[in-house]
């Protein structure tokens, strides 16, 4: 399959079942909601060492938020409910509770729930107040700028993490420009985030390493500097490869997000230096979800 001069590899992205939640952070203005969200969802690129993968899903107008203030919706993904609960509490406790004027609310429903303000309320040292409004419990925790308002729980969703595609280009700058366009397109898809810095990864990995302590190591088959010595996957003329990783609330969201991203890359096409699109997988044995690039783009 060739689209706009870009060869689409006959391969698939291998993704995993994950646990996810959505939270809504509001503040007096969007700047401070973003500050809180950037801190809470920062250092959340990969579950390998960050505990969770997280990012801003979209910005919300005052009409869309529970307390009528501007805000942002963010998604957090982890491999287990226990780890997700731990990361959520830490990140909201250290980055939202601490941030001036903010409040935090559940952004989704779920069969199960995760503590949001449920444990953070103890920061109030006995001065916290509970309010039950329309069947939902909120905690009012006194802080130095007034009160931190936190909904007691948020929902738990069964989701998909680790969808990906690789952009193979003639130069690093051309690969990056295409990836920026892809990330912009994915950002417009509800229910999906690209958790890496700017949404783009340069350090794609393979399973295993020559060092016994490491479970993963650099994906040498796609490293242009190793073309001459390692078994390479790079076609002639490819000088740089970047990867987009996507986490999504549902399988359908993942399809939409990957298609939006790859369409954006293909739109730039061979004229913009894009040679191929490929994807990362582990032979299909580890991940429950397989996203075949050609099927998505068909």
């Amino acid at each position: 399959m060739i689209i706009n001069g870009v060869f689409i590899d006959d391969t698939y992205a291998e993704a995993f079942a994950m646990k996810a939640t959505r939270i809504v952070i509001t503040a007096d203005n969007l700047t401070w909601a973003r500050h809180a969200a950037n801190a809470a969802f920062g250092f959340a690129t990969s579950v390998i060492a960050c505990g969770c993968e997280a990012g801003i899903e979209r910005e919300l107008s005052p009409e869309e938020t529970p307390d009528g203030r501007p805000g942002v919706a963010g998604l957090l993904f982890a491999v287990s409910t226990k780890e997700l609960a731990k990361q959520l509490e830490r990140r909201v406790g250290q980055s939202v509770l601490t941030c001036p004027t903010t409040a935090v609310f559940a952004g989704c429903e779920g069969e199960e729930s995760l503590p949001l303000g449920k444990n953070l309320r103890y920061f109030g040292d006995g001065w916290q107040m509970s309010k039950l409004i329309a069947g939902r419990r909120y905690w009012r925790i006194p802080v130095m700028d007034g009160e931190f308002l936190a909904e007691e729980t948020t929902g738990l969703m069964r989701s998909v993490g680790g969808g990906n595609f690789l952009v193979l280009a003639r130069s690093r700058s051309q690969a990056l420009a295409a990836c920026e366009a892809a990330v912009d397109a994915i950002a417009r898809v509800p229910g999906a985030i690209a958790p890496f810095p700017g949404g783009v990864v340069r350090s794609g990995s393979k399973v295993g390493s020559k060092y016994k302590a490491l479970p993963a190591s650099t994906n040498d088959a796609f490293c242009p500097t190793l073309r001459g010595v390692a078994k390479t996957e790079l076609s002639p003329g490819v000088d740089a490869v970047l990867e987009i990783v996507v986490d999504a609330v549902t399988d359908a969201d993942m399809h939409v997000a990957m298609k939006a991203g790859m369409d954006a890359v293909c739109g730039i096409g061979a004229a913009g230096g894009i040679v191929r699109l490929s994807a990362g997988n582990y032979g299909g044995k580890l991940g429950q979800f397989h996203y075949r690039l050609r099927e998505i783009l068909a």
Binding site: D67, S130, L149
Partner: protein, 266 residues
């Protein structure tokens, strides 16, 4: 819709316990007419006092021009009951769900021991609205009460949970002995608001003549919680709360733990 129309002003107080949408649904008019109620403590059939009309919907309408019908909506769990006229005492007593809409005034003791559902009073409410059932330690413990007019004395006495909204004024000792929950009175209140308040929020649209001395001034505050409450209240009494989240906070009652608050809206 089942419609019960009061034939004449009864010569005593009528206990309407058991006359609910859930108990009358699916029954024929002659069967409903045989439902036992009590007039001045003596049993009689519903059909002796009311004309009964039945159609297919589950809504119950009671047409009355007398305020002697007590216990309307008592123990209601589900469905919709509209009272076209005044209600007597103890309306929505122990109510757990559904909606009771009183298109007139309500007597004393409405929503006593209420646990859930929605009570609308388009006119004025009497004393002890949302308070405890006689002998109970706690008052209203859930649901929403929305009053378009005024409320009498002891509004929300010993209230444990839930939300009471009053567009008009409240009498003396509103929010007295409040245990938790939220009480909003937009039009001001009488003396001793929040006396004995333990936790919970008494929110006043107008500054009372005096805040009880056992409340300490905590100054002007900005509470995002009020934004949340504003949105919720709009669905029951539009325009009741201002969009502003500014209020003056008094914490108390310090003679009873001091964990509650009176908020006077800015």
């Amino acid at each position: 819709m089942t419609t019960l129309s009061l034939r004449a002003v009864p010569n005593g107080r009528v206990d309407m316990t058991g006359v609910l949408p859930e108990t009358l649904a699916g029954r024929r008019a002659d069967d409903i007419g045989k439902q036992i109620i009590h007039l001045a403590g003596s049993p009689l059939m519903l059909g002796d006092l009311f004309e009964v009309d039945v159609d297919e919907t589950d809504m119950l309408v009671i047409r009355t021009d007398s305020d002697r019908l007590d216990c309307l909506g008592k123990g209601m769990n589900t469905g919709s009951l509209r009272v076209e006229g005044p209600a007597g005492h103890y309306a929505a007593q122990g109510m757990r769900g559904g909606e009771l809409d009183i298109r007139g005034d309500a007597g004393d003791g409405a929503a006593n021991g209420m646990r859930g559902g929605l009570l609308r009073i388009r006119g004025d409410a009497g004393a002890w609205l949302g308070a405890a059932l006689i002998g109970d330690r706690t008052g209203m413990a859930g649901g929403v009460v929305a009053v378009e007019g005024n409320a009498g004395d002891r509004l929300g006495d010993r209230m444990r949970r839930g939300l009471i909204l009053v567009r008009g004024q409240a009498g003396d000792a509103c929010g007295a002995r409040l245990l938790a929950g939220t009480l909003v009175v937009a039009g001001g209140c009488g003396t001793q608001p929040g006396a004995g308040l333990r936790r919970g929020s008494l929110i006043l649209g107008r500054r009372p003549e005096a805040i009880p001395p056992s409340f300490n001034d905590s100054g002007r505050v900005d509470l995002s919680y009020l934004g949340l409450l504003h949105r919720h209240a709009e669905s029951f009494l539009p325009g009741l709360l201002p969009a502003s989240t500014q209020a003056h906070r008094y914490m108390g009652d310090l003679a009873f733990g001091g964990k509650g608050e009176i908020l006077v809206l800015a």
